[in-house]
Symmetry: C2
């Protein structure tokens, strides 16, 4: 299997990305590096390098990138998937631009209203998939229904969850709680061929209350960043309080290994990134700050998505369920 | 000043609520207890008790409560404000029912589209007010504009922030980021007589990036509960990792006072609860799990809201700004 890796994308590219790719090379997995040959070549350690002239900046507007940066490594990895040169694309670059590249180069699966971003969150007994993590700021109920199907297949095929429990993110457990979008989506999900378990709340995201949590991209992105901010605030606050006395300083030294373990569990890198679902090929967006470990995790999970046939299964499921959906 | 206190509302009522009320009694502040006389009377320690026959359950539907529980302590405290028997109402009971009671008994200020829930969050250098925390699951851009005005007055008068920075919760800093509601609200806020500082993201909520953060009630409630869940996950995860070795157990004992201080700072009780703004009288919703300390904080902050003239100032500001608002 061939994984097209954007060697130039991410805050720590190319060094960490290339090192991560090297770590995943095996008899069955061939990472191919896309980027400026003169920069990537010397690091490649024998991996194949495909030259791409341009680089998309982390803060570049997706629409601008789509207009002016088709020659970039970020667009090139998606084109490689579209043209059959690779089985899956991985980039730690600009997520919005990657979504644009996926749409422009690979295109939507027939019947998919909107591709969505699936993000595994670190619940204690295995990941909970949040979908949509930010691809669609405005969504309709039938989009949320499709997100439920796509998230369920992803949880099954990539994360190995049998019969995933699919829930809807709302502000109360009762079906009539939430905004209009969520109340209408609740009805659609309840009638779908899915293991729909009802509404969950923000406090359930890290508690393992469901395997897949469905929401629009605005709500999902707010929730993800709020979670990130909350975790940072506690960790930072703890570090600060520990400096306040000799007693707590010593305590802080003693708990350091345990705290580090916790940080690793809760760190976004642990699960390797976000998955763009609903395209005619698989694209994985690794965290922007990806280290070599995170990049390697992302590449391996991307490969698992190919093995599980996520794209084909999403296509089949959406074709099946089209009768249930209103548009 | 007289504060009508719902002695029966909250998970730890009546004992903790009454004890909190007793702690706030002073030459200028008279808490009056509403609830079943036979239960509250023996605890009242000389505070005046007004009998109310019914109790609203924590999980009762607001609409049901409004239909069948007008004789409850929760509705009685709001009626006391409406009838001039009290200057402000405080309840640790069902927030949705309290909002219904505020609407039914006290009513909206003229010109207010929708009352909103303002919640002070524990940022490091003083609270950040999130508004709306859950009163309006569906909101229009002009509602968000009013939330900005109400939140700004609240931050000034109750929390003592000079010229509060008002921001909009979105999924990127640029004005064109967000869903349709947020993009339209951004324009209205940018044109308003407010110190509007643009968009913030979920990760900024506990970072002190703004004094007031405006959002619809669905997004606000998801963010609040996500924050709660994130903090709980880190604290719980830390406790668990600390049990994993003797070394970290000893470290855990040493850091206990520092961790407790942090927990107090981040705990929702610290700022005493949520404020229902936009009504013809002031209503404060203390956290459901309020201890005596939290109840006392809520009562004192409620009194500060009366002293600051929050209701009158909200009324004046909305009358002033009505020219800017489209409906």
């Amino acid at each position: 299997m061939r994984v097209a890796v954007d060697a130039m994308g991410g805050d720590r590219a190319p060094e960490e990305i290339v090192a991560g790719a090297l770590a995943t090379r095996s008899g069955t997995l061939e990472p191919v590096l896309y980027g400026r040959e003169e920069i990537v070549g010397p690091l490649a350690g024998g991996l194949r390098v495909v030259h791409a002239d341009e680089v998309v900046a982390m803060d570049e507007k997706p629409a601008d990138a789509a207009r002016t940066k088709r020659a970039s490594s970020l667009f090139a990895v998606c084109r490689a998937v579209a043209e059959g040169d690779a089985d899956v694309a991985v980039s730690a670059g600009n997520t919005g631009a990657l979504l644009a590249a996926g749409l422009v180069e690979i295109g939507r699966l027939p019947g998919v209203h909107r591709p969505a971003i699936a993000i595994p969150l670190p619940a204690p007994d295995g990941p909970t998939v949040l979908i949509d993590g930010g691809a669609n700021a405005d969504a309709r109920p039938e989009h949320l229904l499709q997100f439920g199907h796509m998230g369920s297949i992803f949880a099954e095929d990539v994360l190995g969850v049998a019969e995933p429990r699919v829930a809807l993110l709302s502000i109360g457990e009762e079906p009539d709680k939430g905004n209009r979008l969520v109340r209408e989506a609740h009805e659609l999900l309840a009638g779908a061929a899915l293991r729909f378990t009802g509404n969950v709340e923000g406090r359930d995201l890290l508690a393992g209350a469901a395997d897949v949590v469905v929401c629009d991209g605005f709500t999902g992105n707010v929730a993800l960043k709020t979670l990130e901010g909350g975790i940072t605030a506690v960790m930072g606050g703890l570090r600060e309080s520990l400096g306040s006395s000799l007693r707590s300083k010593i305590g802080g030294l003693l708990i350091r290994p345990a705290a580090r373990k916790l940080r690793t569990r809760l760190h976004p890198d642990t699960y390797g990134g976000a998955y763009l679902l609903g395209l005619k090929g698989l694209v994985v967006s690794a965290h922007g700050s990806s280290s070599r470990v995170a990049a390697a995790n992302a590449i391996r999970l991307a490969a698992r998505g190919v093995e599980g046939g996520v794209v084909e299964r999403v296509a089949a499921r959406l074709a099946e369920s089209r009768g249930h959906s209103s548009g």
